[in-house]
């Protein structure tokens, strides 16, 4: 099951030591020094996960992320250099599933990568017969598709997982921490913005009017729930 990871990072030292650390953790690692090369590598190798620096020469990480998203739901973890909220939000907007802040220690990075890969595997092995209904949405958990009136709606892996997590128990309130734990595999105090941004993205795709959501509701002071 040696997962193959594509690491796109421009700084040679960081690229080399990260690759060493990931290989030591049992992954197969390919690297690329800039965005254009990274995109090329991704198209050729189709790795199981992409680890993407935000600030890249030639083609920046956000652009690479959008390009990959156009073609695939492969898990993408961004490496952000800045602590700015805006950086995190923009990365997630571009379709990243998670982000790791620089500097990072290897065990932390490895844990996040494993969590992202585990979700991918978990969902791949989900009950083949399951199909959920949320309002006018039909969610096919086996085929990992969401449709309304026969029209398919494209969701990323994380967005899909988040929608399923809520839709499986309509009416139940999930706190942001619970969602971080269940959907992202965080088992520690994480960043709740991740949840807010992802909820926003899902709403933008599945709600008729994202400004007044009818399917995914905010529970004041607590978190989110799916409409019953």
């Amino acid at each position: 099951m040696d997962a193959r990871i594509l690491l796109v990072e421009d700084d040679p030292s960081i690229r080399e030591i990260t690759a060493i650390g990931l290989r030591a953790a049992g992954f197969v690692v390919e690297t690329a020094p800039d965005g254009a090369a990274g995109l090329e590598r991704w198209r050729r190798d189709r790795p199981d996960l992409v680890l993407l620096d935000v600030m890249l020469p030639r083609l920046d990480g956000l652009e690479v992320c959008r390009e990959i998203r156009r073609e695939s739901t492969v898990p993408i973890v961004m490496l952000t250099a800045r602590g700015d909220t805006i950086d995190v939000v923009v990365g997630l907007e571009a379709g990243a599933d998670d982000y790791v802040r620089k500097p990072f220690e290897m065990p932390e990075l490895v844990a996040r990568i494993r969590a992202a890969l585990r979700r991918k595997r978990d969902t791949a092995e989900a009950d083949a017969s399951a199909s959920l209904q949320l309002g006018s949405l039909t969610i096919d958990t086996a085929g990992r598709t969401v449709s309304r009136d026969g029209d398919e709606i494209a969701l990323t892996r994380t967005e899909f997982d988040l929608l399923v997590e809520l839709a499986q128990r309509p009416g139940q309130v999930f706190t942001r921490d619970q969602l971080l734990d269940h959907v992202w595999g965080y088992d520690y105090l994480g960043d709740s913005r991740l949840v807010d941004v992802a909820i926003g993205r899902v709403r933008a795709k599945v709600e008729r009017d994202p400004a007044s959501p009818e399917l995914i509701l905010t529970v004041r002071g607590s978190g989110y729930k799916a409409a019953r």
């Binding site: 700084d11 030292s13 030591a24 933008a204």
Partner: protein, 498 residues
């Protein structure tokens, strides 16, 4: 300034009043004299005529009491201008032309009677029978002395009217002067007012305040000087700000540039740490130190970056009604589970940003852990008036009283032999976050030893009571689903229950 205005007005009013008074008195005296002169001249002419023409004509053989009484002279005199007559026959029983004049002779001044007795014409202004009158007296040869009494009431009346008129005119003049003085003073003082308004704005920090300059008077010079001063002040402040900004930018740049090698270092150190057991003893100790130092460097750089974001005003709080006790409970559970928690009976709701509460408490708890010795750490949440207090108290040695205030300064080290791993910026950062929440951090020494650091933030006032779960299609919640603003936490009142 009010003083100057009053003084200016008073001076002007006084000037006008004195002028009006002088003119009034002059006019009064002049008119009075002219009126009396006029009457006196007329009276003299008439008395002369009466004595030298009328009397000899009617009584050619000398004047005796009986002749006079029958001569009809009394009536003749009266017809010529309402003149009444007293004739003194030097026998103590003067003849009077009308009853009220009886006895009036005794009231005449001797200057009049003695002059009249010599045969020349004398006059006096006297009240006769209660009426202001002009009395002209004279005699023909050794005949009786005739006193002609001319009514002078009209003069006094005219004078009284004049006095009234002058008084009214004077009052009007003073009132006009007062009004003029006000306008005048305002005009003069307007530049002073604008000058002091500009100075007040500068004092309040608005360095763009200037005095409108114009004209060529003393105020124009003042305005020019004032504006020159303000220009140079603004330039100095701008220069200082620039250099401070450059400093802050430098720190931000340095921290940013350090981040790339630091990222490599941290990753490398974490791998070395994982392989410590495989190293020979001598290298192993060095590797351990290396790992610890890299951690220290990391926290220093990250703290510097965090502070430089505050310096650049790049930090904004996303406030959301929060159950403070619950928030603190989960933070303490994650950060320092060994701490003893004291939570309030009823939930305290504050407008806070949980991530910032986490940064504040995290740093304060770190400080307590590093300097608190082996004793327990107490964390208490309670309300105090309109504020909520979160205090973290350790059982360490505390801090010298005069150093308490410096505890939140950057790189302040109360304990020179401080623990490795802390940058000296933790409490300064915590204080910045506290300020962003509209709160403060303060440090006190505990009775019985130890340091207490207390966060004070205002209790939310906008609580509208518990809401039922779910917001349906609440468009006003600010929780738009477009994603671009989804990082803005929904603003929500208190949760229904703890």
């Amino acid at each position: 300034m009010r003083g100057i205005r009053t003084r200016l007005a008073l001076a002007l009013v006084a000037l006008v009043a004195v002028t009006v008074l002088a003119i009034g008195v002059g006019t009064y005296l002049f008119v009075d004299a002219r009126l009396r002169d006029g009457l006196l001249g007329e009276a003299n002419r008439q008395a002369q005529f009466n004595l030298s023409v009328l009397v000899p004509e009617r009584l050619p053989g000398g004047v005796t009491r009986e002749d006079y009484a029958n001569s009809g002279l009394r009536e003749a005199f009266r017809l010529r201008g309402g003149v009444e007559t007293i004739v003194d026959f030097a026998d103590g029983d003067p003849d009077v032309s009308t009853a009220p004049l009886t006895g009036a002779l005794a009231g005449f001044p001797t200057s009049l009677t003695s002059l009249a007795a010599t045969g020349r014409l004398g006059f006096a202004w006297v009240d006769v029978a209660g009426q202001p009158s002009l009395v002209v007296g004279g005699r023909q040869g050794t005949g009786p002395i005739f006193y002609f009494v001319f009514p002078a009431g009209s003069i006094d009346q005219a004078i009284a009217q004049l006095r009234l008129g002058l008084l009214a005119a004077g009052l009007v003049a003073v009132a006009l002067a007062l009004a003029t003085a006000g306008i005048f003073a305002r005009g003069i003082l307007r530049p002073v007012d604008s000058g002091s308004a500009a100075a007040a704005r500068i004092a309040a920090g608005d360095l763009s305040a200037r005095v409108p300059a114009g004209g060529a008077d003393e105020f124009a010079r003042f305005a020019a000087e004032f504006n020159r001063m303000a220009d140079s002040l603004a330039a100095t402040v701008a220069r200082l700000k620039d250099s401070e900004q450059q400093n802050q930018q430098f720190v931000a740049d340095v921290a940013h540039e350090l981040r790339t090698p630091l990222t490599a270092l941290v990753a490398e150190a974490s791998i070395i740490e994982a392989g410590l057991d495989g190293l020979p003893p001598a290298a192993r100790r060095a590797a351990e130190l290396l790992v610890a130092d890299v951690r220290r460097l990391r926290s220093l750089v990250e703290d510097l970056m965090e502070l430089s974001r505050f310096d650049a005003n790049a930090e904004q709080a996303m406030l959301e009604p929060t159950d403070l006790g619950e928030a603190i409970r989960s933070i303490v559970r994650a950060r320092l589970p060994a701490a003893e928690l004291h939570l309030p009976q009823t939930p305290i709701v504050v407008d806070a940003d949980v991530r910032r509460l986490d940064r504040i408490l995290g740093n304060v708890l770190d400080n307590a852990r590093q300097h608190g010795g082996d004793g327990s750490v107490d964390v208490e949440v309670r309300g105090s008036g309109s504020d909520a207090l979160v205090s973290v108290a350790d059982r360490g040695p505390g801090v010298a009283p005069d150093a308490l205030g410096q505890l939140f300064e950057r790189f302040y080290k109360a304990d020179p032999s401080r623990h490795a791993g802390s940058s000296g910026l933790g409490l300064a950062i915590a204080a910045e976050h506290a300020a962003l929440l509209g709160g403060t951090l303060e440090a006190t020494n505990r009775t019985g030893g130890g340091l207490a650091v207390t966060l004070r933030i205002p209790i939310a006032t906008s609580v509208t009571g518990p809401l039922p779960g779910g917001d349906g299609g609440d468009t006003g919640s600010g929780d738009a689903g477009s994603g671009s603003d989804a990082a803005t936490a929904p603003t929500e009142p208190a949760r229904p229950s703890a």
